[in-house]
């Protein structure tokens, strides 16, 4: 357990060192920047709750990535799935006024999940039946989703006054309640945590989860042992898309209450860092999502205090993924294996499913 935490922490430390280098090159003080980040993210109750709010979409998309990557389905499309989920939620939201609150919430969240599941499911189907690499198809659908949303808020869903590219606000009954105003803390976070627990149970406690992970480690061998690989591909992508789509619906229902042109600032891509840093573990992912939510949230304070652009957060994300990847390689584990008295040399399963982008043939 301790050893499994060592690598992510070491990766973060190396990333912090490299980023300090970048900051020094920019003429900024690393200590000032990191403390401004921390205070901005956790300095007071409101800052902390906003960190939780910022982490929520990352939990949803992070779960989407973790679930699919566990099955060696490289879903790069959580961003598009979240966007389509938000689009459906935002489209149906204004018409839910007549329904009782719990039912309106259920409908708007279901719309998001269905939208995301469809968007991901298409890629699963294309992979299973037409042998289309899901990396390519999910990326393509990300761009299609962005354009669909842009078209919707400029066209059919545009608000009545038609002055700003945004949709009509959703009905009050379809809005997730905020707990402690003025904080924007809402039950979306609770749903996200519950889904993390459910995803963990699915992956590690059920037969389907076993099949997903088996296919992730060796697709050909799994097929040989009778695991329905094609059906599994569609299922994994649809589930993964549903999680991301739910994230989009929660964002609409709890935070924005309407659609804008760019609903996601790149959560679907950030999710890859979130999921990898948590070693694709749904529970661990709660911590890493909170960490990245804190980075997002603290970055505004960092800009005010140190004049460093909030996009620094993306530098941190990129570096964390690259360093973690470098840590995960066979070359590196051979190296560390030799140093660490060879303990557990043969028992450590590959951290990432090895069949990256490989075709089944």
């Amino acid at each position: 357990m301790l050893a499994s935490l060592l690598k992510p922490i070491a990766a973060l430390a190396i990333a912090a060192a490299l980023i300090s280098g970048v900051l020094l090159a920019l003429g900024a003080s690393p200590i000032g920047v990191f403390s401004a980040l921390a205070i901005g993210a956790f300095g007071n109750w409101l800052a902390f709750t906003d960190t939780c709010v910022k982490a929520t979409p990352l939990i949803f998309t992070g779960l989407a990535v973790a679930l699919s990557f566990q099955g060696a389905m490289w879903n790069i499309g959580a961003d598009g799935q979240l966007t389509i989920g938000a689009l459906l939620a935002g489209a149906i939201g204004p018409y839910l006024g007549g329904l009782p609150h719990p039912i309106a919430i259920a409908v708007i969240l279901a719309a998001g999940a269905i939208g995301g599941a469809a968007w991901g499911g298409i890629c699963g189907w294309l992979r299973a039946r037409r042998d289309v690499n899901e990396v390519i198809s999910t990326i393509m659908l990300n761009f299609v989703a962005v354009q669909m949303l842009s078209w919707a808020v400029h066209g059919p869903l545009m608000e009545a006054s038609r002055s700003y590219p945004a949709s009509t606000p959703i009905a009050a009954g379809a809005q997730l309640r905020l707990f402690f105003e003025p904080s924007r803390l809402n039950s979306g976070m609770i749903l996200a945590v519950a889904l993390a627990i459910a995803s963990s149970a699915l992956l590690f406690r059920t037969g389907i989860g076993f099949e997903i992970r088996a296919a992730g480690i060796n697709r050909r061998a799994s097929a040989f042992f009778g695991i329905p690989i094609a059906r599994l591909a569609v299922l994994v992508m649809a589930l993964s898309g549903a999680l991301a789509g739910l994230g989009g619906a929660v964002q609409i229902s709890a935070i924005t209450h309407r659609l804008y042109e760019k609903i996601s600032p790149g959560w679907g891509y950030e999710a890859i860092a979130v999921a990898l840093l948590a070693r694709l573990n749904p529970i661990g992912l709660l911590c890493t999502a909170l960490l990245f939510g804190a980075l997002d949230n603290g970055s505004q304070a960092m800009q005010r205090a140190e004049g460093v652009s909030p996009v620094l957060v993306q530098v941190i994300q990129g570096m964390v993924i690259l360093i973690l990847l470098a840590f995960d390689t066979t070359a590196f584990s051979r190296l560390t294996g030799a140093i660490s008295l060879r303990r557990g040399a043969g028992t450590s399963a590959p951290e990432l499913p090895p069949a990256a982008g490989a075709s089944d043939a």
Binding site: W74, A326, L352
Partner: protein, 302 residues
């Protein structure tokens, strides 16, 4: 009108073609490079920043190329030497590039308030050819990078299909084990491919800032790296096919700008989404992997 549309089509197609040719080389060697967008972005920023500080467009071009090579070399260390997941590494480089260029751009030019612009790479009309009606300006009144991009197409086609080196490269992408057994050095070939591709992708980024926009804005590559990925598929891994697909995508972009300017009823987003949707339809129609190198995306570990 038609003249302007054709001319705009070629200028839009050029950066896509350059990046797609780069991606083609890498994919033929068996590496799936999702990091093109990042290399392009770094190339674009490095080119403009260098040209702005030095006052030399040529130095800017070289810096753009160097930045593309640097990003691809990073990918090479990870994807070739350490054999990590290529998709994840490429995505990380895209995120990193967006962040690094953004941080440096805002730090260097956000405060000064000075216009971050340079004189564009001047067009070089090819004598009387540029005066040909309709197609003349599009084909023969462009800048150096446009000519270079289209000149690379036949050269690359020849190298890939007619030379021993091209064959070796494709062997590394089709069957790395066999290539290795023949002593071809899969790692060496993949490194070569990534460096060559870095040159082309960096050049493509430099074109965006030095010849097309004459300035830098954050995320200026605007998904062109991913379009290049689509172009390679639509072009069936053939340099001539890539050229046709690039021109098609260039036309879609040019048309979208034209439609936005005219304010027609056709939503311009349709034209922006079309290339991506079309790629998916083609992939679904022919069965995805039919023409792709067999070992595409598989790390090679001896």
């Amino acid at each position: 009108m038609l003249e302007a549309f054709l001319s705009s089509t070629i200028s839009m197609a050029t950066p896509i073609l350059l990046a797609a040719l780069g991606e083609l080389i890498v994919e033929e060697s068996g590496v799936l490079n999702i990091g093109i967008e990042g290399a392009m972005l770094c190339g674009a920023f490095a080119a403009l920043a260098t040209a702005w500080f030095s006052g030399s467009v040529m130095l800017g071009l070289l810096a753009g190329i160097a930045a593309g090579v640097a990003i691809n070399a990073t990918l090479a260390v990870l994807a070739v030497n350490l054999a990590v997941n290529q998709v994840v590494a490429g995505t990380a480089l895209d995120i990193l590039a967006l962040g690094i260029t953004g941080v440096f751009y805002r730090r260097m030019f956000g405060i000064t308030g000075k216009a971050f612009t340079v004189h564009a790479l001047a067009p070089m009309p090819l004598g009387p050819l540029a005066a040909i009606p309709i197609v003349g300006p599009a084909l023969f009144d462009q800048n150096l990078i446009v000519y270079a991009a289209f000149a690379i197409v036949p050269i690359l086609a020849w190298i890939l299909s007619r030379t021993r080196y091209g064959l070796e490269l494709r062997a590394a992408g089709e069957n790395p084990q066999a290539a290795d057994a023949l002593g071809l050095g899969v790692r060496r070939l993949r490194w070569h491919a990534l460096i060559a591709s870095g040159v082309l992708t960096g050049l493509s980024g430099a074109y965006l800032t030095l010849a097309y926009a004459n300035t830098f804005v954050e995320g200026i590559s605007a998904g062109r790296g991913f379009v290049a990925l689509a172009v390679v598929i639509l072009g069936r891994w053939n340099p001539w096919g890539l050229t046709a697909a690039s021109i098609l995508f260039g036309a879609a972009m040019a048309l979208q700008f034209g439609l936005q300017a005219l304010g027609t009823a056709v939503p311009y987003q349709l034209f922006l989404a079309l290339p991506y949707a079309l790629t998916l339809v083609v992939l679904a129609g022919v069965g995805g992997q039919a023409q792709a190198p067999s070992a595409l995306g598989e790390p090679y570990v001896r």
